[in-house]
Amino acid sequence: MQITLSVNGRSHTLDVPENTLLVDIIRERLRLTGTHVGCDTSQCGACTVHMDGRAVKSCTVLAGQADGASITTIEGIGTVDALHPMQAAFRECHALQCGFCTPGMIMTAIDLVENTSQLDGSTVREGLKGNLCRCTGYHNIVKAVLSAADKA
């Protein structure tokens, strides 16, 4: 099937098999490898991206569902010289270790801050429970999200 989608502000028209997953389009077709695959049951959240402004696990989105959508990946939110405030907060708070869950975690966290009115430790933890991290024990991730929310 042919689909057209915008990824990080660039429009792409692609021919893909119908069973193609959005994460495979992002990683394999567009070679945006910041979005990761950490599981095969939509549990880990490492593949989280924004689709039309909301966080989605791109391993559960089929190509057809992404047709016409506007996608933002970790590569699209900031650069080393102009970090997104959430990226900066993750670095300042040491909210990452191996870095594998980090892109998905940051994309979820941005959605959480943008779409939740009152955040505290417990709501942040609730909001992040779809994203697994095996390194940090979440302690510094929670700190980073609250810190970014404070500045937002």
């Binding site: 990683r27 070679r31 945006l32 490898t33 910041g34 979005t35 990761h36 695959v37 950490g38 599981c39 095969d40 049951t41 549990q43 880990c44 490492a46 990946t73 970790i74 590569e75 900031g78 650069t79 080393v80 970090l83 990226q87 993750f90 670095r91 300042e92 040491h94 990452l96 270790q97 191996c98 870095g99 594998f100 869950c101 980090t102 892109p103 940051i106 430790g121 417990s122 942040v124 933890r125 609730e126 992040l128 429970k129 994203n131 697994l132 991290c133 095996r134 390194c135 940090t136 024990g137 979440y138 302690h139 510094n140 991730i141 929670v142």
Partner: protein, 786 residues
């Protein structure tokens, strides 16, 4: 002096983060090379079976299939068995018994997930499809799954009777028995240390490339120790000569031990790349990780602790059956022996200790080192039984520990189980933890919880661990197949920047930052001028990698030695250039200064002169780059106190961890930001073991916990914020005074949490994990009995 902002002790924000937070990390699966084919493994659906026939005819017909290869093809190419790197000597003096471990199974399969064949195809989709079409005929054999009865079950490997790899012992059995017989009180406890599945977030992956023209093999892979992998693949498995094999471990998404080992899949990938003359890529999906990554823990233990009338420990006797799984993985044999039995003294002056361990094969995934590796199991035994002894004898658990602790004046302390602790101050960390936990206020908090239908419990763990496994001479005499040193190189570039090469590997630990802190501090050059290179056998001379919390204590020490050599050579050059003698030249804060005048020059100026040696000492080699190997003279001994406080919901059995305090003595600290992060992560894994995680097989050997929907990894809302603090007694025998911090969190926390849970429930034991169901059943049992 060092720079207070970037030197040793400074909370420097990690430089590696820049690539990870922007999506620019480069993990193995992110790498794609021209012409790469995709590998998918055909795995055994049975725990134990004979392979009758592998029929690839139909699968081979699928368009896009490049090849289907089996264990027989591998053997025909001379690829050998995967070795175990540590030969444990049994108590009768004979060697342990090791079955062959072919990278692809030949003849028999021994666990569900055992790789039987590999399909290589033009696309991943085709490879998956063809793997489904490979028809393997199996003749099922009775599986041995239950650890408790494995020694009296059918033989898994021909000739290995009772499925026993070894019977091993340590300590004085007679003295221990006698002391127990004379004890005023004996506490007895049977414990299960639950099987864990590591689950680093990045699954294992490999990309093999062979250059037929040069004969060079390059393997990109998710390894914690690429040089060790190269050594094993070359020397024992016969994949390629060592000088023709380059292993690159690029960014690696966590390891926790599971990426130390040399597995069949990675071995197959590099061999297949040569055989098929094209690059081959394999990336595990998570289900494969569950089935075929080495698991951790899985012990059954009986322990007895004797106390005299005053509460002093007189003897500890331990018997453990350790599950090794279907084959002996790379370091599996050492984990329940030398990394376990030797730690049973804990922080205490127990005079007599004896431990016997039976290492047992079962038809389950191989079990090997997982964060802590033997030390969490030892701590679990010691700290659970000490807590129970306090309860049984009516003593305060903190005070009973204090009474028995090794005191500062006792160091160096020879334990009855081989180790010599160099230094520590256990009471100091206990006192700090008691203060942070507001131990005095606990009874009031317990009363308040009870008023809300919740039972509150508090639990302690005063752990010790041994890090930086060493020294080589001793370990090799005890059966280790490799040395335990680390290598490092400090290379000044002509323009004054420094490139540091380390044989350790960073997969989350932050070495690119912390090692740069160490070297810039030592050399007195800007932090920004120091770059750390790791993870590539083509760039780094040698190394043993990252495991056992060794990287800073051993690898960091090697860098200090190399930096000191650089400083000394620079002194010769500086003396010549300043027309003085070397003994008249001081080095401090990056500058050489004459003692008798105010002349000075920076080490970076000296570096330039060394590469442009117009005015240069006679007979001295140009250049300013030095290597060092550091072989520690002893382990380091981090120790500390962890305190957990839990609430148990009477209605649902849900255990909430409401407070967790970790006070750890890691010796000197290079970067507190990184150290605290290591503790947080370790504690989370330990809490996961206590409350959530268990790898479970059914009676036929099918893994019941084979996805993230069945195996309960801690999520953000399962955990509280942690309270973390440190005390400092510098290690006495390495140049940095450091001890290692990577595993402590996972070592102390399971015992602390389970002591809190059993305190809340008023029971002597509950098997981990303390799931709501298990706790609810216990609560119901208590209600029915009441």
């Amino acid at each position: 002096m060092g720079n207070p902002v970037t030197g040793i002790g400074a909370a420097v924000v990690r430089r590696e983060d820049a690539r990870f937070i922007t999506g620019a990390g480069r993990y193995t699966d992110d790498i794609r090379v021209e012409g790469q084919a995709y590998a998918v493994f055909v795995r055994s659906p049975y725990a134990h079976a004979r392979i009758v026939e592998i029929d690839c005819a139909q699968a081979s017909e699928i368009p896009g299939v490049v090849a289907i290869l089996t264990g027989d093809d591998m053997q025909a190419d001379g690829i050998g068995s995967l070795p175990c790197g540590w030969n444990v000597t049994q108590k009768d003096g004979t060697d342990m018994r090791v079955p062959p471990h072919p990278p692809l199974a030949t003849g028999h399969v021994n666990y569900v997930g055992d790789p039987v064949a590999v399909v290589v195809a033009e696309s991943l989709e085709t490879a998956r499809q063809a793997a489904e079409a490979v028809a393997v005929e199996f003749d099922e054999l009775p599986p041995v799954v239950d650890l408790a009865t494995a020694q009296v079950s059918a033989e898994i490997h021909a000739g290995i009777t009772h499925n026993l790899a070894y019977e091993w012992e340590l300590g004085d059995r007679e003295a221990t028995d006698a002391a127990l017989a004379g004890a005023a009180h004996v506490t007895r406890l049977d414990l299960v240390n639950n099987r864990l599945i590591p689950n680093a977030m990045e699954p294992r992956a490999a990309l093999g490339i062979h250059d037929a023209a040069t004969g060079e093999h390059t393997l990109y892979t998710t390894s914690q120790n690429p040089h060790l992998a190269r050594l094993i693949l070359s020397a024992f498995v016969n994949v390629a000569p060592e000088h023709k094999l380059r292993i690159i471990a690029p960014d690696v998404g966590g390891g926790f031990g599971s990426k130390i080992f040399v597995y069949g899949e990675e071995t197959t990938v590099i061999w297949a790349a040569r055989r098929l003359r094209r690059p081959v890529k394999w990336t595990a999906d998570r289900s494969e990780s569950f089935l075929a990554d080495a698991h951790g823990r899985d012990h059954l233990t009986h322990a007895e602790l004797g106390l005299d009338a005053e509460g002093r420990f007189v003897a500890l006797k331990v018997h453990t059956v350790a599950n090794l799984g279907a084959y002996l993985s790379t370091f599996a044999s050492a984990v329940p022996t030398y990394l376990y039995g030797t730690l049973l003294a804990g922080q205490y002056r127990t005079p007599c200790i004896h431990v016997e361990v039976h290492g047992v094969y079962t038809n389950t995934a191989p079990v090997d080192a997982y964060r802590g590796a033997g030390r969490p199991e030892a701590t679990y035994v010691v700290e659970r039984i000490v807590e129970n002894a306090a309860r049984e004898t009516g003593r305060d658990p903190a005070e009973l520990r204090r009474l028995n602790m090794i005191r500062p004046e006792d160091f160096p302390y020879q334990t009855p189980v081989a180790l010599v602790y160099d230094t520590g101050n256990y009471e100091q960390s206990l006192d700090r933890a008691l203060e942070l936990a507001d131990y005095r206020g606990f009874s009031e908090r317990r009363r308040q919880s009870a008023a809300n239908g919740r039972r509150r419990g508090i639990g302690f763990a005063c752990y010790i661990e041994a890090c930086g496994l060493a020294p080589s001479r001793l370990a090799i005499s005890l059966g280790a197949g490799v040395g335990l040193y680390e290598s490092g190189e400090v290379r000044f570039n002509p323009t004054g920047s420094v490139t540091v090469f380390t044989g350790t590997h960073s997969h989350g630990q932050g070495h690119e930052t912390t090692f740069a802190q160490v070297v810039s501090h030592r050399l007195g050059v800007p932090f920004e001028a120091v770059e750390v290179v790791h993870g590539d056998t083509g760039r780094i001379e040698f190394g043993l990698g990252t495991y056992g919390s060794r990287s800073l204590a051993v690898g960091g020490s090697a860098l200090v030695l190399a930096a000191d050599k650089v400083i000394e050579k620079g002194r010769l050059i500086a003396a010549h250039l300043m027309e003085s003698s070397p003994d008249n030249v001081d080095f401090e804060d990056g500058a050489y200064r004459l003692k008798d005048s105010n002349r000075s020059m920076t080490i970076q100026e000296v570096a330039f002169a060394s590469y442009v040696p117009g005015n240069y000492p006679d007979g001295l080699e140009p250049g300013l780059s030095e290597k060092a190997f550091y072989d520690p003279e002893n382990f380091t001994y981090p120790a500390g106190t962890h305190i957990a406080e839990v609430e148990v919901d009477e209605q649902t059995g849900v255990v909430s961890l409401v407070n967790f305090i970790a006070v750890d003595d890691f010796g000197r600290i290079v970067n507190p930001l990184v150290v605290h992060g290591q503790v947080h992560g370790g504690v989370a894994q330990g809490v996961g073991q206590a409350l959530l995680e268990v790898g479970r097989y059914d009676a036929t050997g099918q893994l019941l916990t084979g996805t993230m929907m069945d195996y309960c990894l801690p999520r953000a809302d399962d955990l509280p914020d942690f309270v973390v603090d440190t005390t400092v007694t510098p290690c006495t025998h390495n140049p940095l005074g450091v001890k290692g911090c990577g595993e402590a969190g996972a070592i102390g926390s399971p015992a602390a949490v389970m002591n809190a849970v059993t305190d809340a429930l008023g029971v002597p034991d509950l098997a981990m994990p303390a799931t709501p169901e298990k706790v609810w059943r216990e609560l119901r049992r208590q209600r029915e009995q009441a």
